[in-house]
Subunit: 518 residues, 2 copies
């Protein structure tokens, strides 16, 4: 990597510790992480104000006339009734304007804190942060092929994420650790995020008791008072599109919102299956769902941080398979970004999406299309930014470092274009003149180190050198980079007392629970 | 392909022919080509009006103070002197405002005619057309590896281009036919474009006599009067950056402009070598060069169609290799697009650029980045849109069909987002309701065929099917598509009299010339 740098004295601890902790910190190695991207480039706004207003009016109609379903959740129905909605059975009809009004209590931006304060990120506004792939049951690498993920694979991904300069978050379920009982996975996953990395992490969402465990562990790491006042987790609440807010996800949302922790309210849209086959129709449903979900979060705790989410793919009408990097997904994502900005909410979408089975050219095309789409859509929180393969079924080690490298291009592009005297380079143009070259001129010498983004993975060698070195393709280069990174991994320092307390919490919770449905 | 369609009666001939010609047309097979893209999406304008004005002021300073060089071209110097420039030796100092004023005579858009009028394209305004890779001495395919290109390879590329639905132009030097003497290549290349395809083509540029041959052959194909009044070629005039207009390229420009044929005036920029290492500095030089070149074309023939070109890559400061798909190239390309629109000129840039040696993930990432950049930069004429590999040293058969497939995503995206009643899909949302799915609903049934862009190359199959079918990566799928396309190729009809006249012209010219430096 060449990025390792001692940060003695630079790092503040989130919580007090003894002399052992300080000693541990003094001897620790750290790896550079680029700060939150402050976007200086415009968004690509493909919808007119008229179309946005039409979508919003239609979404209000959907909420009032069709309504949304909150099944098996009497508490939610009671909250909605009290807020003024027309609740019939499990269907909540939300009068026009009510959801939008409730959403106003949500903050337009917030800080998601990391235990290493230098790694804390800003969500919302012109900011953009990257989180890795989330959810795949399988992993793949060049040596081992495709197989079920294990906790050891999970830990390896956390280490790679920690060492990836352009990646901001450690993530959530980077892969499913299928060798751990389902009901205990969240404990081991969170422990890995907390101890093998010092970047911000995401909490468990598939059971409200597990969400409570994540809050408890976070309190051990950050302290009770800090967690109550600050977001230390951003968790992914999927809406069961169309228009259904299932009680498991809502139970988790209730836990996190009550604890003042951030949630992404994210319609899960495979266009043509969970939403209409048109862009504007899909956006109408997305907006209705997000408005209802965000409004509900604010009924639980006004001011709880929340993100306008949109996971969007199209469907291959021949095979029914989800497709990625497609023009319709770009249009929907860009439109959703415009809608999120209209509501003053942070926006989550996009990622390094692909349907490819291998980290091959298809993976490259589709992922680059998706990453560019996300950048231009004004995404604030990009989940699945690296490692995604095979429609999200697989977390690929090689793809992880490929995508993570590409994220650097977005950092550089979004930084915008300076036009100061040095950038104008008039002296250089004068110095070189017609027919000359710039390689040796003073301006080039003064600026070349930072002038151009440089991949730390892709091949830039002459053909002959590349041939002599084995004519390696990108996947082979990436596999070598994975090995090289892991060989240099050093765990970030942590207060031994906190580590002990976390271990004790995990051990106790594991003892309390039976080994459920592995 | 499944795209073959008889077009009897639909096609008009560009020029009269006898009964044999009509019979040939009646029995011909054709392949769909999508029309010129009429962009309905916005451009990504990353530079402010202030920065654009600053660049323009600096470019005017460059033209006046530093000047541009027209070596070994007394005719050009005389034209410039007469127009009011301050000519010192071979250096032309252009007073502020003069170049810009001369550029005003150039049309803001024009039609590039194909011999099949259905294949004619519009250049400029909101239009976007695609042309294939241009110039590689090498070709590559999965079976034969990397090797020097031959005329047979060239013909194969022309056939693939003819059959590629999303590709508008047949192109120019798709690969160098290195088995033909250098001074006769243009004859064989143009003959291939004229007879194996009916899409628009580009003319030779590396010798003014060869340019004259291209004009002569075009007159055989289209008729003298038609060629004099209409652009039937768009040819690539590279500027020898920085600020040098060599006599070979200018000689060719003089031939084409005098013949009212279109030229792309294109600075050839490897940032850090031929231009400053900063975005604004590079744009300043690009604008100065294009203004001087376009102005010169208008001195030759006011009103001659011309395109604001910009070929931009950055350089890897470690190895000196050009790099592609980088953020700085995107910024420069987008800025150049803004400058071209300010001047009211059509804009040429971008392509499916990559430095990769193989059609692998690197090729996918970099090419997708470049293609998206071109779309968002408002490019009107995209050269190198498909087939480019290894920094332009190699034309790849597999990459050609990969990129050509991706061009479909741009066609679809740029078409914009309808918001009519069908697109709003409110009836579908009502019909499906919370918890339902859209696969069978009336709206989906009515719209699914056109709703989502579908790749004709990429893999959308379930993992198990994909595995059983041999776990093919994208390069293997592309190689199979190349074979499949070529097996279905049918030559477009052409008037036998015209073909005979073209053959006679080529034979005569080949006889007149010695076999020069192969």
């Amino acid at each position: 990597m060449g990025e390792a740098a001692a940060t003695d004295g630079k790092r503040r601890r989130a919580r007090g510790g003894g002399g052992a902790a300080r000693r541990a910190e003094r001897t620790a190695t750290s790896f550079d992480t680029a700060p939150t991207i402050r976007r200086r480039t415009p968004t690509l706004d493909i919808l007119s104000e008229e179309t946005l207003a039409l979508i919003e009016a239609n979404a209000e109609t959907v909420l009032e006339e069709i309504g949304v379903s909150f099944p098996e959740n009497p508490g939610a129905l009671a909250r909605w009734r009290e807020a003024g909605a027309d609740v019939r059975g499990e269907r909540v009809h939300i009068p026009k304007g009510l959801a939008r009004k409730l959403c106003e209590a949500a903050p337009s931006n917030f800080t998601h804190h990391a235990r290493n304060p230098e790694r804390s990120v800003e969500i919302g506004g012109n900011n953009l942060v990257f989180a890795p792939v989330y959810g795949p049951p399988f992993v793949r690498d060049l040596d081992g092929g495709r197989r079920y993920g294990t906790i050891e694979d999970f830990r390896t991904f956390v280490k790679l994420g920690y060492m990836s300069k352009w990646l901001h978050l450690s993530g959530g379920t980077v892969c499913e650790p299928t060798d751990v009982p389902v009901n205990k996975r969240h404990l081991d996953m969170l422990m890995a995020h907390m101890t093998l990395s010092d970047k911000p992490y995401m909490g468990a969402v598939t059971d409200k008791d597990w969400a409570k465990d994540c809050v408890s562990m976070s309190k051990v790491l950050f302290g009770d008072a800090f967690v109550d006042q600050n977001a230390v987790m951003t968790s992914l609440i999927n809406i069961n599109s169309p228009l259904t807010f299932d009680s498991v996800m809502m139970g988790t949302l209730e836990v996190y919102a009550a604890a003042n922790q951030a949630c992404i309210i994210s319609p899960f849209i495979v266009g043509g299956a969970m939403a209409p086959v048109s862009v504007v129709g899909t956006l109408t449903q997305v907006l209705a769902e997000v408005m209802a979900g965000v409004a509900y979060s604010q009924l639980v705790r006004p001011g709880a941080p929340v993100i306008f989410g949109a996971f969007v793919t199209s469907i291959d009408m021949n095979s029914g398979a989800p497709t990625f990097g497609t023009p319709e997904a770009s249009q929907i994502t860009m439109g959703a970004g415009q809608l999120a900005r209209r509501m003053g909410l942070p926006f989550r979408s996009a990622g390094g999406f692909t349907g490819a089975k291998l980290p091959d050219a298809q993976a490259g095309y589709e992922s680059a299309n998706s990453l560019q789409m996300g950048m231009n859509a004004g995404v604030n929180f990009m989940l699945h930014a690296c490692g995604w393969l095979e429609g999200g079924l697989v977390a690929s080690f090689e793809k992880f470092v490929m995508d993570a490298d590409q994220l650097g291009t977005i950092h550089k592009f979004a930084a915008g274009v300076p036009d100061d005297e040095n950038a104008q380079a008039m002296d250089a143009i004068r110095e070189v003149g017609p027919g000359g070259h710039y390689l040796g001129c003073a301006h080039t010498q003064a600026n070349f180190k930072t002038a151009f983004w440089r991949s730390e993975l892709l091949d830039y060698k002459p053909f002959e050198t590349w041939s002599e070195e084995g004519a390696r393709d990108t996947a082979v280069l990436a596999a070598e980079k994975v090995r090289s990174m892991l060989s240099k991994y050093v765990e970030p320092a942590i207060d031994p007392g906190i580590r002990e307390a976390l271990n004790a919490f995990v051990a106790k919770r594991k003892e309390e629970m039976p080994d459920a449905y592995t």
